[in-house]
Amino acid sequence: MKKIFGILGLLIAVCLVTASLSDSFLSAYNVENVLRRSALFGILSIGVAFVIITGGIDLSLGSVVCLVGCALPWLLTVQHWPVPLALLAVVALSLGIGLFHGLLITKLRIQPFIVTLCGLLLYRGIARGFTADQTVGFGNEFKSLRLLATGKVPFFPGFDLPAPLLFLAVVAILAAVFLNRTIYGRYLLALGRNPQAATYSGISTQRMTILAYVVSSGLAGLGGVLFVLDVNSAQPVDFGSFYELYAIAAAVLGGCSLRGGEGSIVGVLVGAALMQVLRNMITLVTTRNNVEFAIIGAVILLGVVADELTRRIAAKRRAAQVLQGATAA
């Protein structure tokens, strides 16, 4: 828990600064936008957090977003599948990808980095293949389906909650309950820190690992569906490109250790929101956005450094006090 205070502080600081520099930041319209984007990236980040907690990594996530994001409109508008069937297909596809990763990693013991890096190359390539590099989208159709991503739920007068936020809420609550309250969550955490201890305790580590990759790909699939419904078009070459890095960054910022065994869902959400607020800030406050990434990088770095330094100073002060108390006594 302590670990997320730093990042939460950073998020609040960035929000305050942006609000003071731009009147529009706190407008209902802007808040809804930022919430929607944070929700979309939050879903991806929670997925990858599961894998990171087991001590693995999933680099394929952006490509799964791309594959699913291209497949859904392609199935609907080019292949003219009925909506439920198309949705079922992309869900099965993303879960299947996760299963495939999990099996390669557990049964054949191939490093997760390699498996998912190949996935990164492969799935985008497949999407480019079946779409023949064409942009796919819904055009003016499927409006009601698209409400899943673009819809709004009235919250209080003048402020609506974007639909993806509800998805995120459900996913986050399920994930948090799963991790903290169920035996399987416990197994995941144990497996991440000490796979041997987990095995010796009679835990089926393979099944848990596979589960983590299925969750990761599954949520990437959900993210892909929501992204394409929101944006309304997907170009296979760059749809979802680099999203794996954003998601991993959010998870790690939110307190997941890449060594496994640690992670909090709240932290991950804060991490995902931070990235989106930063991007929003840059467009609202500055008139150039080509240094956007530089600023994000710099802020994250400064935040992490500041967090570390305050922690150290606090520890030093505490030590000094203890010593003083001790020598005085």
Binding site: S22, S24, F25, S27, Y29, N30, N33, R37, L40, R128, A132, D133, Q134, T135, G137, G139, N140, T150, F227, D230, V231, N232, S233, A234, Q235, V237, D238, F239, S241, F242, R279, N280, T283, L284, T286, T287, R288, N289, N290
Partner: protein, 322 residues
């Protein structure tokens, strides 16, 4: 108005090998590749489209590999014309090389096929002025600004809006706020081809400037994303939208009146003409090639009155290429 196929001597066993190299991957180039295929069929040559996914070093690699394969002719859209002159010259020693879409005038390319992006930009700017006769504020959205064609396109748009004279040689800072002629250009937002980011840019602009008058989307996918943002904030029609290129959603918008108009290039013809010219050059029929080494394929304005006709033409070409 299908170009007549020049009588090419065929049947010498091997087909002429021609490559059409783009500057990236985009739907625009898919239409061009339809032209390439059509020409290949009409002229009985072996023509292939290559789209580098990773920018300039990828393009270089592709050209090198094409030369390895013993290609006869290459049509390339150089990403960085000045600095790629040398590469083009090397290629020109081993094969016939022409440029399309974006020129490398100092190189030994034999021909440039394309249009003037600055002029096309000006067409866009003119439509902005038509849409807002009393002036107002404008925001420009574009994928990237580092390509020559996108810089010129943006500059043309700005110059036409501000009523400046024709001068394609200058460049306004990306962060500059420009005023003139009753218009205020608030800025240019880039998205590096990330669509979610492109949409976020449009949303953020709407959040930042509640009284925004007109949005200009200069890359093919920008106008549809802006339409999404407008629809979600109930500002369709209130905020004007001027587009570039012929995305389906853009054309729909023109039909419905939510998009003022768009400027279209003719990628199909880029592809078709590139193959046609290369094939003539390879078989030594220089008569086909214009003497000024420039084949202009001008841009067109598409508005409500001609959009239906344009769509049917586009459709028939694409389906013919399948």
């Amino acid at each position: 108005n299908k170009p007549a196929a020049p009588s090419v001597a065929e049947g010498e066993g091997k087909l002429k090998k021609i490559a059409f190299v783009t500057n990236g991957v985009a739907s625009f180039w898919t239409i061009a590749s339809a032209g390439v295929k059509a020409a290949a069929r009409d002229l009985k040559v072996d023509a292939q489209t290559l789209m580098p996914a990773e920018g300039i070093s990828d393009q270089k690699r592709m050209i090198e590999d094409l030369l390895t394969r013993g290609i006869d002719g290459i049509a390339v859209s150089p990403i960085d014309p000045v600095n790629q002159t040398e590469l083009i010259n090397i290629a020109a020693k081993k094969a016939k090389v022409i440029t399309h879409d974006s020129d490398a005038p100092q190189s030994e390319r034999l021909l440039y096929i394309g249009m003037d992006n600055y002029k096309a930009g000006r067409m866009c700017g003119e439509m902005v002025r038509e849409a807002m006769p009393n002036g107002g504020s404008v925001m420009i959205f574009i994928g990237r600004l580092e390509q020559d064609n996108s810089k010129r396109r943006r500059q043309g748009t700005i110059d036409a809006i501000l009523g400046r004279p024709d001068n394609s040689d200058h460049f306004d800072e990306i962060s500059a706020v420009l005023e003139g002629n009753g218009f205020k250009i608030l800025g240019t937002l880039t998205d590096q081809f990330d669509r979610a980011k492109g949409k976020a840019n449009a949303e953020d602009a709407l959040a930042k400037y509640p009284d925004l008058g007109c949005m200009v989307g200069l890359f093919a996918y920008n106008p549809p994303l802006i339409l999404e943002a407008l629809a979600q904030s109930n500002k369709l029609g209130t905020v004007k939208l001027v587009a570039f290129d012929e995305d389906d959603a853009t054309l729909d918008g023109i039909e419905k009146g939510t998009v003022v108009g768009t400027v279209v290039q003719d990628p199909y013809m880029y592809g078709y003409k590139s193959v046609e010219m290369l094939s003539a050059l390879i078989s030594g029929k220089p008569g086909v090639v214009p003497s000024e080494k420039f084949l202009d394929i001008p841009a067109r304005k598409i508005r409500k009155e001609n959009v239906v006709e344009f769509r049917s033409e586009l459709k028939s070409r694409l389906s013919a290429a399948q």
